[in-house]
């Protein structure tokens, strides 16, 4: 599935420089820069409402940005960046008569008033995409009747069938049970290895993906920090990001971000901090 990508895999799949996003008068992102490389799994972390979805949609070109550049290397069939996208809420109606196969097939030029590739080639691609997410045996099932984890896989196959360079997933782990969550994480890891994709997935909690991500983009207070997990998710870098003291604690292999204990000079963090629930146990 990675023909056409290997030639320029030395270039980053996506380069974002000095990006500013303002939506409806609200500043979402200020001077953000980061790079997404091939064969890399990146976690986009931030509290609910921090602007993760907005950032993803800006990369997709669905929301205009105020200034800055978004550069992607490969362009797809219609001059659009070849980016696969799995949206956050997938409400597939069980009453819609559409099979997994059909859903994935619509990923190839779903806009298509005319079709650019042969039927045989299309079916081959769909079959490949289904295989890569381990859904071949469910190809004939009605999508609306599949479980949450299976629907998620079907959506990933839909995104992959267009042969993107970059795969964006918006909160793919929300609403999944622990087992399904683990399955999706494993799937993304193996997809990265086999296809050389650059994958960016957003999550409000770092912990489920802590083990597998190569890079973290941390979004808070309209600012963004990116880099290897152990560099970004530290007391000093997150404190700088939030503009007041927060502490990163590692317990039993989990990362917990709490407002700092010794920050008596900052009275206002309780209202501002996204994880303020965690402070309730303090005196």
């Amino acid at each position: 599935m990675n023909q056409g990508r290997s030639s320029n895999s030395s270039n980053p799949a996506l380069e974002v420089v000095d990006l500013n996003i303002v939506v409806g008068g609200r500043r979402i992102l200020t001077d953000a820069s980061f790079t997404l490389n091939h064969t890399t799994l990146t976690g986009l972390i931030g509290a609910n409402g921090a602007g993760k979805t907005t950032l993803l949609k800006t990369i997709l070109g669905l929301i205009p940005h105020e200034s800055g550049t978004i550069r992607s290397q490969n362009f797809g069939e219609h001059g659009r960046p070849s980016i696969g996208y799995v949206p956050q809420k997938i409400n597939l109606d069980p009453d819609v008569p559409i099979r997994t196969f059909d859903l994935v097939e619509l990923g190839i030029n779903g806009r298509g008033l005319r079709r650019s590739i042969t039927k045989k080639e299309r079916f081959k691609r769909v079959e490949e995409a289904l295989q890569s997410v381990g859904m071949s045996h469910l190809a004939d099932r009605r999508v609306g009747l599949l479980s949450g984890g299976e629907q998620q896989r079907a959506m990933i196959a839909h995104a992959l069938v267009g042969r993107p360079d970059l795969l964006l997933l918006d909160e793919p782990l929300a609403n999944l049970d622990v087992r399904a969550e683990n399955e999706v994480v494993q799937l993304l890891t193996s997809l990265k290895a086999t296809t050389g994709l650059a994958i960016l997935l957003s999550a409000h909690d770092l912990n489920p993906i802590l083990e597998v991500v190569d890079q973290v983009i941390y979004l808070a207070e309209s600012k963004l920090a990116s880099g290897p997990t152990e560099e970004v998710v530290t007391t000093s870098s997150l404190s700088a990001l939030y503009g007041h003291h927060v502490e990163v604690i590692r317990v039993n292999g989990r990362v917990v971000v709490v407002p700092g204990r010794d920050s008596s000079s900052h009275h206002d963090y309780d209202q501002q901090h996204p994880n303020r629930n965690l402070t309730r146990s303090q005196p």
């Binding site: 059909d102 030029n109 779903g110 071949s136």
Partner: protein, 312 residues
């Protein structure tokens, strides 16, 4: 022998030679086909109310046509296109509240329909306009309306065929469609216009307020039995045509059965048969190896007991 006697009993004398019946069969089959195709997407997109609203809106056009002395079909189509544009213009982005806006637009246009029908009955001497516009009958159809009906039907079907893929994708998920560069708003408008044309046509068949039956009935039954859009389309058309033809036959036969020789209206026969089919056809919960067309890849057999069907 027995079969021919039976057939003779079912198909009353003169059924196929009667010119009114012939026109009814052709127009009936045509509009049932168009309604079933367009209706499938209407049901899938959850726009049943908009589909029905357009038929009522068309009634205003039908009554206006009687005033202006033009073909009622033209009146229906013109008013429906205006209605579709109005609905789309006021449509909120979110799905919540969509029905409310449809309702307010419908209320306003129904008010105008009331006025036009009132003027019809007071200014012209035709007292039956209300009944013929709202409950129109196939048997009273002039045969010269056939070319216009065929034209409008083909436009509607070809429009759906033209936007098939983006329409299907944006019906499943508007967000996914946007990512692929589909102009969702535009597709939605084009679909509403195709819907308006289809509704106008079936309004001729069963009358304005009953055209909803053909639009919603066959596709609803079809989506309960099938798992792919194509088989749903085929089944929907089959049910639509079957019910319409059976309804026409039943209505024709009923003249002989009822005491005063009044007969049952076609619209009633069609709707009653449709409701019967709806209750008789059970919902199919899942598939075990749906038949694929021959050039689609065959996948591994579905494991019989799977947790996959436990809905979330």
């Amino acid at each position: 022998m027995i079969i021919s006697t039976l057939l003779h009993d079912i198909v009353a004398a003169g059924f196929l030679t009667n010119p009114a019946v012939r026109t009814a069969i052709v127009v009936g089959a045509l509009s049932a086909t168009v309604s079933s195709v367009v209706g499938l997407f209407t049901v899938v997109r959850g726009q049943s109310f908009a589909g029905h609203a357009l038929s009522d809106i068309g009634a205003a056009g039908g009554s206006g046509a009687a005033l202006a002395n033009i073909s009622p079909l033209l009146g229906f189509v013109a008013m429906n296109l205006i209605g579709a544009l109005t609905l789309e213009a006021f449509q909120p982005k979110r799905v919540r509240g969509r029905d409310l806006v449809t309702g307010v637009v419908l209320g306003a246009i129904l008010g105008i329909a009331a006025l036009l029908l009132y003027l019809d009955t007071t200014l012209t001497t035709s007292t039956g306009t209300t009944v013929s516009v709202l409950f129109g009958s196939l048997f009273t159809l002039p045969s010269n309306s056939l070319p216009l009906a065929i034209g409008i039907g083909s436009v509607s079907i070809f429009t759906i065929a033209w936007i098939y893929r983006p329409l299907l994708l944006s019906s499943v998920s508007p967000e996914l469609a946007q990512v692929q560069g589909v102009r969702v708003r535009w597709i939605s408008l084009v679909f509403l216009l195709a819907l308006a044309a289809a509704v106008s046509l079936s309004a001729l068949l069963t009358g304005a307020i009953l055209s909803t039956a053909l639009l919603i009935g066959p596709p609803t039954i079809a989506t309960r039995r099938t798992h792919s859009i194509r088989s749903a389309l085929v089944l929907s058309i089959a049910i639509g045509i079957g019910v319409t033809l059976a309804g026409i036959l039943l209505s024709y036969d009923s003249v002989a059965w009822t005491s005063q020789g009044v007969g049952w209206p076609v619209s009633f026969c069609i709707v009653a048969l449709l409701t019967l089919v709806f209750f008789l056809v059970p919902r199919r919960t899942h598939t075990v190896g749906e038949h694929l067309t021959k050039d689609e890849p065959r996948s591994a057999p579905t494991p019989p007991s799977s947790s996959a069907l436990v809905s979330k």
